[in-house]
C-alpha cells in the first residue's frame, strides 16, 4: 500500500475515534430531548461540571474555597485527602443525580407545557448558571484529570502498520491515541448498556413510553416526574463519561463545555430523536471533518473543523429535513 493511502487511512481512523466522542455527547442530548422535548444546551457544561467535581473530589479540594476565603478572610484550600478514582466517580454520580433532581424540581417542573424555544432558553440560562457555579465551587484553573486511563500513542499499532507500506517508501506507522481507543470501547459499552436498559427494564420501558406520548404514559400510571429525573440523571452520567474522556485528553477547563457545540451538527445529521442516529451522525462528522481538513484544509488556511460539521449538516438537511433517522415530520393544519 502506498504511503498516501495509509495516511488517509490513519486520518479516517482518527476521525472515527473523534466521532465516537462526539456521539457520546450527542447521546446525552437525545436522551433528554426524546423524553421531555427539552433541547438541553447545558449538556456540555454538565460534562465540564461533572469532570470538575470528579477532580475536586479526588484531590480533596474544599468546595467554594474562593468564596469562603473572600467572605471570611480565611485560607482554606484542601481537605488533605486523596480519593481513589472509583470512589470519586461514585461520588460524582451521586452529585449528578442530585443535580438532576434539583433541575427537575426547581426549573422544569414549572415550565411544563411551555413552548420549546422557552425551554431551550431555560437550558441556556442553566448552562450560564452551572458555568459560574462550577467555577465558583472548584476554581477556574486548568485541572489535570487522571483516573488511570492510558495516555500517549500506541506503539503496537505503530510498529504493526509500519510493515504495511510498500517497499522503499518512507512510512513510520499510524499514530493512534491509546485514550481514543479506550474511549471507543467505553462508548460502545455505554451505548449497549443504555439500549439494554431501555429495552429490558421496567424503568426503561416507562422511559420509552414517556418519549412516545406523555399523556398516554401518564394515564397508564407512569410517574412523569420520576422519569424526567431519571433521564436527567442518565444524561448526567453520560456527561460524566464524556467529561472523563475529554478531560483526561486535554485537561479540565472551560473549553470542555464547548463540546456541546460539536455535538449539535451530529444531532442535526442523525436526527434529534434517534440514538442510532447520534452514533452514525457522530461517525460521519468525525471522519468527514478530519478528511476535509486533511485534503482541502491546507488550501484554504486550515482550521476548517470549526465549521465543516455545520455546513455538512446544513447541506444534508436541505435534502432530508428530519435528519438521517429522525421521525418523519408530518404537518397538518
Amino acid at each position: 500500500m502506498s504511503a498516501a493511502f495509509l495516511n488517509t487511512l490513519e486520518v479516517m481512523a482518527n476521525g472515527l475515534m473523534a466521532g465516537v466522542l462526539y456521539a457520546l455527547v450527542a447521546l446525552g442530548f437525545v436522551l433528554i430531548y426524546k423524553a421531555s422535548g427539552i433541547f438541553n444546551y447545558a449538556q456540555g457544561v454538565m460534562a465540564l461540571f461533572a469532570a470538575m467535581t470528579l477532580v475536586g473530589a479526588m484531590e480533596g479540594r474544599v468546595p467554594f474555597s474562593h468564596l469562603i476565603n473572600a467572605v471570611f478572610g480565611t485560607e482554606v484550600h484542601h481537605f488533605g485527602w486523596h480519593l481513589p478514582a472509583l470512589l470519586g466517580i461514585a461520588l460524582t454520580i451521586a452529585v449528578m443525580v442530585f443535580f438532576a433532581w434539583v433541575v427537575q424540581r426547581v426549573i422544569f417542573k414549572h415550565l411544563v407545557g411551555q413552548e420549546p424555544i422557552i425551554l431551550f432558553m431555560a437550558t441556556i440560562g442553566l448552562a450560564y448558571f452551572m458555568e459560574g457555579f462550577g467555577e465558583t465551587m472548584w476554581g477556574s484553573d486548568i485541572k489535570t484529570l487522571d483516573v488511570g486511563l492510558p495516555q500517549g500513542g500506541s506503539f503496537a499499532i505503530e510498529d504493526f502498520t509500519a510493515t504495511w507500506a510498500a517497499e522503499g517508501e518512507r512510512y513510520y506507522g499510524m499514530y493512534i491515541d491509546n485514550l481514543d481507543m479506550v474511549a471507543t470501547v467505553v462508548a460502545i459499552l455505554l451505548v449497549s448498556a443504555l439500549v439494554l436498559f431501555s429495552q429490558y427494564t421496567k424503568q426503561g420501558r416507562a422511559m420509552r413510553a414517556v418519549a412516545d406520548d406523555h399523556q398516554a404514559a401518564l394515564s397508564v400510571g407512569i410517574n412523569l416526574n420520576f422519569i424526567w429525573v431519571l433521564v436527567w440523571s442518565l444524561a448526567g452520567f453520560v456527561a460524566l463519561v464524556a467529561g472523563i474522556m475529554w478531560g483526561s485528553k486535554s485537561g479540565v477547563q472551560f473549553s470542555l463545555s464547548l463540546i456541546a457545540l460539536k455535538a449539535l451538527p451530529v444531532l442535526m445529521l442523525g436526527g434529534f430523536t434517534s440514538i442510532p442516529g447520534a452514533i452514525v451522525g457522530g461517525l460521519i462528522i468525525g471522519v468527514g471533518e478530519k478528511l476535509f481538513e486533511f485534503a482541502i484544509g491546507p488550501y484554504v488556511g486550515g482550521a476548517t473543523e470549526n465549521w465543516f460539521a455545520y455546513v455538512l449538516a446544513l447541506i444534508f438537511l436541505v435534502f432530508r429535513p428530519q435528519g438521517l433517522f429522525g421521525e418523519k415530520i408530518i404537518e397538518r393544519v
Binding site: 415550565l111 441556556i124 467555577e135 457545540l261 449539535l264 484554504v300 436541505v318 428530519q322
Partner: protein
C-alpha cells in the same frame, strides 16, 4: 385612569393609522425623544457613554433585528454574532475604500462617508442573511436554529482567514480610522461622548420607527402568519419564500448596522472571534426573549436589562464588596443564569408582557372597579 384607550376619538384615517394611535403612548414617545436628544447629550461623559449608552443603543438595534426574525417571523437564529461580523467588516471596507483586483491591477474606490458606510454595511449583511436564510424554506424549528450556527462559525472563520477583509493587516484586527460627520469625529480615538451618542441615537430612532411600522403593516402580518403556522399561512395566500426571506433580509440589515456601529463607533478595534463569537449570538437572543418576543419595546427593555445588569453587578461586587474580579465574574455568570431561568418561569413572555400588565392596572387605578 392614567392609561386611557377610550375617549381618544379620531376623525380621519391618517389619525387612526399613525405610529402611536393612543395618546398616552404618543406622549411617552415624544418625552423619550426629547430626553434622549435634548437632555442626555449635555449631561453624559465618557464613562456613561462607553459603559451604558453606546452598548444599549447598539444592542437595541441588534435586538430589534433579531426580534423581527425570531419574534415576528418565528425563525430561530443563532447566527447573530456572525452577521454582526459581516456588518463590521463591510463597514470597515467601505470606510477605508474598497480595493478590487482585476487582472493584476488594483482599483481602489475612495473612502465612503461613515454614515453611508454603515448603511451600505447593512445592505451587504442583508444579502448574506438571505443566503443563509435560504435553508429555512426546508428546515424548521430547532434544526434551523442549529443550521444558523453554520453561518456563525463559517463567517467568523472566513474573517479570520481572508486577509482582503482586514486589509492585510499583520495583527488580523480591524481598527477604525478617524471619520466624522459635518467635521465632528464619530470614530477613531478623538471622539466626543455626545457625538458618538447622537450618531448611534439617530440610527436607533429611525430604525425603530421603520421596524414598528413594518411590523404593523402587511409585511409584518405576513411574518406573523408564517410564525403562527406556516402551512395555514400558505393556504391563505402568504408566499413563504418571500415572507421568510424578507424577514431574514430585514433582520440581517438591522443586525449588520448594529455590527458596523459596534465596531466603528463603540469598540474602534475588533478581533472577530473575540467580539463576534457565539456568546454574542446568545446575548442578543437573551435580550429578545427577556424583553419579549414580538415586541419592539421589548427589544429596548431586554437590551437595557442585559447591558445594565453586568455593570451593576460589577459595581456592587468588585467596587462595593471588594471581592476579587475572577470570583465576581463567576458570580455574575451565576446571577445572570439564575435570573434568566427565574424570568422564564415567572414571565415567559418577557418584560413587554410585564409592561402590558402594568397598563392593564393603570387603566383602572386607583379605582379597582
Amino acid at each position: 385612569m392614567l392609561y386611557r384607550e377610550a375617549g381618544d376619538f379620531k376623525t380621519s384615517y391618517t389619525d387612526d393609522g399613525q405610529t402611536f394611535p393612543i395618546k398616552f403612548d404618543r406622549i411617552g414617545y415624544y418625552v423619550a425623544l426629547i430626553v434622549a436628544f435634548a437632555i442626555v447629550p449635555f449631561v453624559i461623559n465618557d464613562y456613561w457613554v462607553n459603559a451604558i449608552f453606546l452598548p444599549f443603543l447598539i444592542y437595541a438595534i441588534a435586538a430589534i433585528g433579531l426580534n423581527v426574525l425570531v419574534g415576528y417571523c418565528g425563525q430561530v437564529s443563532l447566527g447573530t454574532g456572525g452577521f454582526m461580523a459581516v456588518g463590521a467588516y463591510a463597514c470597515y471596507k467601505f470606510m477605508t475604500g474598497i480595493d478590487i483586483w482585476i487582472g493584476g491591477v488594483q482599483y481602489a474606490l475612495p473612502p465612503i462617508n461613515i454614515f453611508f458606510s454603515v448603511i451600505l454595511a447593512g445592505f451587504v449583511t442583508a444579502i448574506v442573511g438571505v443566503l443563509f436564510g435560504l435553508p429555512s424554506l426546508r428546515i424548521k424549528g430547532f434544526y434551523l436554529a442549529v443550521a444558523t450556527l453554520a453561518a456563525q462559525f463559517f463567517l467568523v472563520w472566513l474573517f479570520n482567514k481572508w486577509s482582503w477583509t482586514y486589509n492585510y493587516s499583520a495583527s488580523g484586527q480591524i481598527s477604525a480610522p478617524e471619520r466624522g460627520m459635518f467635521g465632528v469625529p464619530v470614530t477613531g480615538p478623538n471622539t466626543e461622548a455626545w457625538a458618538t451618542y447622537l450618531f448611534c441615537l439617530v440610527f436607533v430612532v429611525v430604525l425603530a420607527l421603520i421596524a414598528r411600522n413594518l411590523t404593523r403593516g402587511s409585511v409584518g402580518r405576513k411574518w406573523m402568519a408564517i410564525r403562527d403556522m406556516d402551512i395555514a399561512a400558505e393556504i391563505i395566500g402568504v408566499d413563504p419564500l418571500k415572507a421568510k426571506l424578507s424577514a431574514f433580509a430585514v433582520s440581517s440589515f438591522y443586525v449588520g448596522i448594529a455590527g458596523a456601529l459596534f465596531f466603528s463607533v463603540y469598540l474602534g478595534a475588533v478581533e472577530v472571534g473575540e467580539a463576534f463569537g457565539i456568546q454574542k449570538s446568545f446575548l442578543v437572543l437573551f435580550m429578545v426573549i427577556i424583553g419579549g418576543l414580538g415586541s419592539i419595546f421589548g427589544s429596548f427593555a431586554g437590551a437595557a436589562f442585559l447591558v445594565l445588569l453586568p455593570v451593576l453587578l460589577k459595581n456592587v461586587l468588585v467596587s462595593g464588596l471588594g471581592w476579587p474580579t475572577d470570583l465576581a465574574a463567576h458570580l455574575e455568570f451565576m446571577i445572570v443564569g439564575a435570573l434568566i431561568v427565574t424570568f422564564l418561569i415567572l414571565e415567559p413572555h418577557g418584560l413587554a408582557q410585564l409592561w402590558r400588565v402594568i397598563k392593564e392596572k393603570l387603566r383602572l387605578w386607583p379605582f379597582p372597579h
